[in-house]
């Protein structure tokens, strides 16, 4: 008995000694900054940065000074702290958010047949191209919800996914997962979006969906910024968010109500003290909402102003502010 205790104890002691020495001698010491950065990163391992998870990205940030801030899920404050840790300025792209471009909910868009298979849009797409009558519309089985690492997109009772803007980090995982390419990333400050990706002709569309784009081109005609492209040949209607100023004229003219307003654009007012009456704002305003006499403060007609903000950009004296801003 005693013999056994000594043998086992002895083996254990020798093994512990070897392991203890090895742990000290061969220890891998990561850059402490890497550990700290990893703590600051979201830890969702969504892959939006292009690296194999948050740890790999933290490693790349520390090792390679050219690595841009590819993580979409960190806020400005965290970026600040990471750049302090690294001792260099890191570039950040504008924050993006996922946008679901389909309004064909269950009561608005029909189905060709009842689908009983796996609850995955990609699997459903394999059966005769999906059960929905519109071959472009959302299948509503929630693959986007399933893959979202941030719990930021949910399929509602109407069968359409909604993005929780506060949680969405613009990582684009849902964009890749959607078999119909309905989701895209748009800048976080986007104001309007055409919520339909169908390139079906109006004739087909009328039979499949109550709200889908019928290519009437009214929005294209009314847009002062040439930001909407509704081509008839097989391409989905789309708003160029880089050009869109959010005047929302298109929202008003759309007979199908398929152009969605994310937020009401804020109108502008002119700070009298700063205005020198140069009339630039009057010239750029697409809505004739600004009037006045040269060299005297101009005024904004709030009934006509649609909050596009062109005048705010052009004013040489920063005399035009959004209503509500100090």
């Amino acid at each position: 008995m005693l013999y056994a205790v000594f043998v086992i104890g002895g083996v254990g002691f020798v093994a512990a000694l070897v392991l203890g020495v090895a742990a000290v001698t061969f220890a891998v010491r990561p850059d402490p900054r890497e550990v700290e950065i990893l703590d600051l990163l979201p830890g969702a391992n969504c892959g939006a940065c292009g690296y194999a998870g948050c740890a790999a990205f933290a490693h790349a940030l520390v090792e390679d000074p050219d690595t841009p801030m590819a993580c979409t899920a960190v806020d400005a404050d965290t970026v600040q702290r990471i750049s302090l840790l690294l001792g260099r300025e890191i570039e950040v792209a504008g924050p993006m958010v996922a946008s679901v471009r389909c309004m064909g909910s269950r009561d608005r868009a029909g189905f060709r047949f009842s689908y009983l298979g796996p609850r995955d849009c990609r699997a459903a797409q394999l059966v005769a191209g999906g059960a929905k009558a519109c071959v472009y519309g959302c299948l509503g089985l929630g693959t986007c919800e399933e893959v979202c690492p941030f719990d930021a997109i949910h399929v509602g009772v109407d069968g359409l996914p909604r993005v929780v803007v506060d949680r969405c980090t613009g990582c684009g995982t849902c964009v890749d997962a959607c078999p119909r390419g309905i989701i895209r990333l748009v800048p976080r400050d986007s104001v309007v979006e055409i919520r339909c990706v169908s390139s079906d002709s109006p004739r087909v569309m009328k039979g499949t969906c109550d709200v889908g784009c019928i290519k009437c081109m009214l929005c294209v005609g009314v847009c002062p910024f040439d930001a909407i492209d509704v081509s008839s040949d097989g391409m989905p209607p789309v708003i160029d968010q880089g050009r869109c100023h959010g005047c929302s004229l298109c929202v008003d003219v759309c007979p199908r109500g398929v152009i969605d307003l994310y937020m009401v654009p804020r109108k502008v007012s002119i700070v009298e003290d700063r205005c020198i009456g140069c009339s630039i704002c009057e010239q750029v305003c697409p809505f004739d909402a600004i009037s006045g006499e040269p060299r005297r403060p101009y005024v904004v007609d709030l009934d006509r102003c649609r909050g596009c903000g062109l005048c705010v950009e052009k004013c040489p004296k920063d005399a035009i502010v959004r209503v509500g801003d100090a």
Partner: protein
């Protein structure tokens, strides 16, 4: 009796039609001939709206080697090349729409008198190719490709597939009974092309009358082999295993083990093409199931609308809820009556509500019945669980790509899990990923 490992024993349900002689379906006013009725590159149409075509005239040119042309099923006027619903993909697909003139006149030179047994092998292969023949068991792989094996993979065994293991279907059965010589002569043409001195005709034991007829008619060079009744006995790899004892390697083709399999219907079409130049413009198909008023075996022109086929068979019963092209195991459910018969339509199955289970599936209980049933020796339980989570990369290491999608696993699953659907889903994800990778390179 010869067979293979795994498989299932679903009710045969063949009594509905296997006693009924083949009836030729009369002409209908309109035919929709799909251009893509084969696996491979789509064919390019060579007719346009307003053209007058005759029975047997070429409507499309194959693009590339793995492709097949289609021919006019009757004489008439081309209404145009339009978009029709494809019964396999369910998507809009180009098709030639022909308004029949009712004359049914042959194109010039057809049918002609040919002697295939004095022709060269290459000549016969080009006859098969220009006749647009594809595998008529349902897979629709262009037949001339299978008849042109690469030099390093010589074929030494040829099996004529008269198994017809799908429940309900009896089209091949009736064909072997009523026109055994067409099947046998076609098989002899194949043997001539490949320079083979013998062949095996494989028939399941549930068709004793067909076995008798064939035993009486075959020449000494063809042996009739009776196989055990089991699904999927007619699947190419299972058939080769049962008859020859050879196993097609993972990811391989039958030619890797020197074997070639042709369906009985395909052999009959090969005979028509090589003995009289008649292209593949009609086939025998079983219209059956509890939802059809008068189940029949019909000889139907390719491109005949489903509506007309149903009407010819007395229409549907009140409780008909599902129409399937092919058999119940591997056939494709249709959502529209606007589809048309294709070269691969081995059956039109109309099921009444009592034969259709519309309940949803539940979790895998790891009972292992699917493992016993899988004729490929895979682990469908593991694959289905991976499929539920779209984990295709892991599934590849469980030989995902070797699944033949026979549906035996889903048939025995007590949790009613759509296992084949999960597997198809992962195969699609895997193909998509490798396509993306190719694009990136």
């Amino acid at each position: 009796m010869l067979s293979f490992r795994g498989g299932i024993h679903p009710p045969g349900m063949k009594d509905l039609v296997n006693g009924r002689a083949i009836e030729s379906m009369p002409l209908v006013p309109l035919y929709r001939v799909l251009l893509q009725q084969h696996i491979g590159a789509p064919a390019r149409p060579v007719v346009k709206a307003g053209d007058v075509v005759r029975k047997g005239q070429v409507l499309s040119e194959p693009q590339g080697f793995v492709s097949a042309s289609v021919h006019a099923p009757t004489s008439g006027k081309v209404r145009g090349v339009e978009e029709c619903i494809h019964p396999v993909t369910g998507l809009a697909s180009p098709c030639v729409v022909i308004e029949a003139d009712g004359e049914d006149t042959w194109v010039e030179g057809l049918p002609s008198e040919l002697d295939p047994f004095s022709m060269e092998g290459s000549e016969l292969v080009s006859m098969v190719r220009s006749s647009g023949i594809v595998g008529m068991g349902g897979a629709t792989f262009p037949t001339h490709v299978k008849l042109s094996p690469p030099k390093d993979k010589p074929i030494d065994a040829f099996i004529i597939n008269g198994v017809e293991c799908e429940p309900y279907l009896a089209a091949d059965h009736r064909l072997m009974l009523e026109e055994p010589l067409r099947v046998i002569s076609g098989a002899r043409v194949v043997m001539r092309i490949l320079g083979l001195s013998d062949a095996v005709m494989a028939i399941e034991a549930n068709k004793p009358d067909a076995v008798d007829v064939m035993r009486r008619e075959v020449p000494g060079s063809i042996r009739v082999e009776v196989l055990g009744v089991k699904y999927p006995q007619g699947a190419e790899k299972q058939l080769i295993k049962a008859v020859l004892g050879r196993e097609v390697p993972s990811g391989g083709l039958p030619m890797d083990v020197g074997a070639l399999v042709h369906n009985a219907g395909t052999c009959a079409a090969i005979w028509d093409a090589c003995s009289s130049g008649i292209p593949l413009i009609e086939r025998v198909t079983s219209v059956t199931g509890s939802g059809i008023r008068e189940p029949k075996n019909i000889r139907v022109r390719i491109g005949t609308p489903l509506r007309d086929v149903i009407e010819f068979c007395g229409g549907v019963e009140e409780d008909a809820v599902k129409v399937i092209f092919g058999g119940p195991m591997m056939g494709i459910a249709q959502y529209s009556m606007d589809v048309s018969v294709t070269k691969g339509t081995s059956g039109v199955l109309v099921l009444g509500s009592r034969d259709v289970d519309r309940s949803s599936y539940t979790s895998c209980i790891s009972c292992g019945r699917c493992v016993d049933a899988c004729p490929m020796g895979l682990l469908p339980n593991v694959l289905s669980k991976l499929g539920e989570r779209s984990m295709w990369e892991e599934a590849l290491s469980f030989n995902l790509m070797d699944c033949i999608e026979c549906g035996s696993c889903a048939y025995v699953c007590p949790a009613r899990r759509p296992i084949v659907h999960f597997i198809k889903h992962m195969k699609a994800l895997s193909r998509e990923a490798s396509a993306k990778k190719r694009q990136a390179v």
